[in-house]
Assembly symmetry: C2
Homo-oligomer: 543 residues x 2
């Protein structure tokens, strides 16, 4: 297991800061001459072909971005100057990449690649870590080989839910017969009221997922779920399993039929390939699908250690993001999968990117003088074409788009209509949008004019299966980390969520005091007193 004793080497702390780097200067001057994609002759098939990188089952087409050879050379120089592949190697080898130098911080490793490092060529090279990971996978295999439940109630929030949920929505063609799942994330009581309707609890397994074992929403929902079992005379233990770190309050075999472990060195939002996703995939699709999923992620992990940005897909994607964010000054990025199966994938990436890189101090605790993590948002195409694409084409702001698409459908039950299949229509629309955004269209009617020169990237796979999905997930996990390495910020903590939590606890303390002695939970007396409570809270804080 990685040891976090000082002194460890942090070679990348001596690299020039993002704002001081020589290549940053170069890029700043290059952005004034960035290619205008709407000019005739700029977007050509040759450009699209030559600006395509391939690996781990995915193609990354970046010819619709506002880059040219000198810009790509400078981006490579930036990656080299900031030693970001070295930083990624530090991450892989269990160095504590989660820290702020000189200040109290989590001082942890972030070795999520270890969760899929179970194949021949090792990437992490730590036998102790490998043993821990393989033992949990073995536990999964044996527990789910004997699983006779048909419904899973999955209780978890944030990093414990968004990724696995997104992945399992994308794996529907691979579900075992008659397996169903319900997700419970929110503390909103109505979410559970809906989930509990029409569930046969006798045939239901409940997975409770919390890295710390103390998440408020999860603990609340677990208590109510156990209560539902007990109300119909079912002892809950046999129906409940836990996913948590060793030694948390949830690491307790007296209360759970099984406990699966994740570890301190795996961050919540990077835990989809750990047992967090493992429990869900194994239940719904079987353990072999989980292993396939891991193999795709592992394949992308290898690419993330390449020095050449044309071979390192996650680094290339990160550099293009930084180009758009810091040089072309675009504050948001839309991620638009042309795949209904990926309808929750953007929500996961939104968490992954924004919780990791929504920071404003660097590794030395200095306020950074540049923009960091952009706002990530999006919905699937073609739906989005009938929604927010109006703004993408003609709005006052420019939004770079990351399109994701697949050459083949998942179910292969396509249908010819008016001479083309639905998959034809889907992928034709994806390309048409990237083209339209780039080239624009001149019209005398200003309301029908398209300025163009709006950048996008296309990520293209053959077919959305478990392996491709693993590769796609790891592509984005590493994109996020590379952006953080480029900016010199700590992508692995989330101190920004603490203040709200603290204030909520203060408000709840007031509510608790008022409720004491009163057990009518349906009365909902809080609403009417919100302003009184606010009064107490602001008084507490001396405002």
């Amino acid at each position: 297991m990685p040891s976090y004793q000082e002194p460890w080497k942090k070679p990348f702390l001596s690299t020039p800061r993002f704002s001081d780097a020589k290549s940053t200067r170069t890029l700043e001057s290059l952005c004034k001459q960035a290619p205008d994609l709407s000019k005739p002759g700029v977007i050509t098939p040759e450009r699209i072909v030559s600006m395509t990188s391939r690996g781990a089952g995915l193609s990354l087409l970046y010819g619709f971005q506002r880059v040219d050879q000198p810009i790509l050379t400078a981006l490579q120089a930036l990656a080299d100057e900031r030693e970001v592949v070295g930083q990624m190697q530090a991450l892989f080898s269990g160095k504590p990449v989660n820290f702020i130098e000189g200040f109290d911080s989590e001082q942890r490793a972030a070795i999520h690649p270890a969760t899929r490092d179970i194949f021949e060529q090792e990437v992490v090279h730590d036998p102790a870590v490998r043993q821990l990971v393989e033992a949990e996978i073995q536990k999964l295999r044996s527990f789910f080989s004997e699983n006779t439940f048909d419904t899973l109630l999955f209780i978890g929030i944030g990093g414990s839910e968004l990724g696995p949920h997104a992945i399992l929505e994308a794996l529907k063609p691979y579900y075992l017969p008659s397996k169903k799942v319900h997700y419970l994330a929110n503390v909103d009581p109505d979410e559970m009221s809906v989930a509990l309707r029409g569930i046969d609890l006798t045939r239901t397994l409940v997975a409770v997922v919390s890295k710390s074992g103390t998440t408020l929403e999860t603990a609340t929902n677990e208590a109510r779920a156990r209560h539902a079992f007990e109300q119909i005379g079912l002892p809950s233990k046999a129906h409940f399993i836990a996913v948590t770190c060793p030694q948390t309050p949830m690491d307790d075999l007296t209360r759970y039929a099984a406990v699966f472990h994740l570890f301190d060195f795996i961050g919540g939002r990077f835990s989809t390939t750990s047992v967090v996703g493992g429990v869900l995939i194994s239940f719904l699709c079987g353990s072999n699908t989980f292993i396939e999923f891991l193999s795709g992620a592992n394949e992308m992990d290898r690419l993330a250690l390449r020095m050449d940005i044309r071979e390192n897909l996650p680094l290339l994607l990160a550099l293009l993001a930084v180009w758009n964010r810091n040089f072309l000054k675009l504050p948001t990025t839309a991620i638009v999968p042309y795949s209904s199966a990926l309808h929750r994938f953007t929500a996961h990436l939104q968490q992954c990117e924004m919780e990791s890189n929504g920071k404003c101090v660097d590794r030395f605790g200095h306020l950074v003088p540049f923009s960091t993590g952009p706002i990530i948002w999006g919905e699937p195409g073609t739906n989005a074409q009938h929604s927010f694409f109006q703004l993408l084409h003609q709005g006052s702001d420019i939004v770079p788009v990351e399109f994701i698409g697949f050459k083949e459908s998942q179910f292969k039950e396509d249908f010819l209509f008016k001479g083309t299949s639905s998959q034809d229509k889907l992928i034709a629309n994806l390309f048409a949008q990237a083209l339209a955004l780039a080239i624009g269209h001149i019209n005398e009617n200003p309301n029908k004019n398209f300025a163009g020169n709006r950048p996008s990237t296309i990520i293209l796979g053959k077919r959305l299966d478990a392996k491709t999905l693993g590769s796609l997930l790891a592509l984005y996990e590493h994109k996020v980390a590379f952006q953080g390495f480029l900016w010199g910020i700590n992508s692995f903590d989330q101190e920004g969520v603490q203040l709200g939590k603290l204030l909520a606890e203060q408000i709840l303390k007031v509510i608790r005091a008022r409720r004491s002695g009163q057990e009518d939970t349906t009365a909902n007396p809080v609403g009417g007193r919100l302003l009184d409570i606010l009064d107490d809270v602001t008084a507490l804080r001396g405002l």
Copy 2:
């Protein structure tokens, strides 16, 4: 019915443009002294109470916005100077608000308030329109009183799907026993493969919704759905109903068991209270719930005609949005409902706002010299606290938030845990977040420091029922229109979606030619040839 013959009066064309208005100048100078919410003594209970507007079952708390009395006075002056309530009256009375002066444009009215103008006090005052609307509602009532189907397959995209889908997700407590629904929007063939699994077609009604009657995705999905019925020997006509405008290709009783009409004067993204939402609500909840829903929207409609911004909730919300967008220069807005039931509501509002106001020319066809519609995005709380809230609190960019919450739960099946109910926890978190964003927190550790001064609005209702939902929907519909009126842009067309459509048709033409003579729909031959196709398309366009 409204007559669109020239000459009609367009009084609001002579008002000063947004960028020239006197009050715009005032606001520009006021924004330098906008209150700093993080300063001690600024956020007080008195401020929150006094900065609350109420109406149509909702409270709008704007004390967490960076406004004070002089700013509110100037915002009122801006509304008056731009005559936006007059413009809203023009919309209500069927004037063609959908136009660009001097250029070819749609020249249509946008009288969506008519779809709920069925109560005592009229707001639209057009007997012909009222008769049309009431006839359709009567048709709905009688068709669904005899409905024996238990599953609805709802085929539609964009304006025909996002709103109704969002609304019906929020009305789950009001579903009639054993009624189910599946939505089909995307042309992605896998979406239908998933939907068709486990459906009993003999008990399924299919609603096909397209205003134009020619939407590509919808036509494709309808064809495949009919094919599925025919494959098992069921004549499809008895199972299919249409929702479309009169005289479209879908207005055809030889192919549908019933046809419900919407009208040219109702825009797609504003059609949720028309028969588009009516079919869905009537099927799942019964027609009475639909009428309740309409009554809430109608109540908000009345408020939208008030001159005083403290009484006109949609106008107040629009002015605060414009304040954040054009004066505080914030390019996005997060809409975060603290209600799982509203999990698709933000996606609908994203369409409503971004398709309406993602424009860059004004009503005279001039490029506007200011920012228009912001990017709208969001996910429900408390989930979002475990996702992107890190960036909201500590990111390099500031994102104004619109929180939506309810004092009581829908199902009233709440649960006490650690002395408070789940609904307590939900609403305590909503207030805690608004507070935390505003006041921030000073910490010596820069990574645990919160700058604060980040604005938000809270929209609060008693309980999320059909009436409140109607009111909430109309609040946002009118917010969108008021923003457009303030900026002087046309919020009612969507020319920006045309270019992508045209290019997709060109690509499909190439694919069709290649496919001719070949009927194997599972072969997915497109993917491998994408770059060839791109070659053809760019050649077609002479690039």
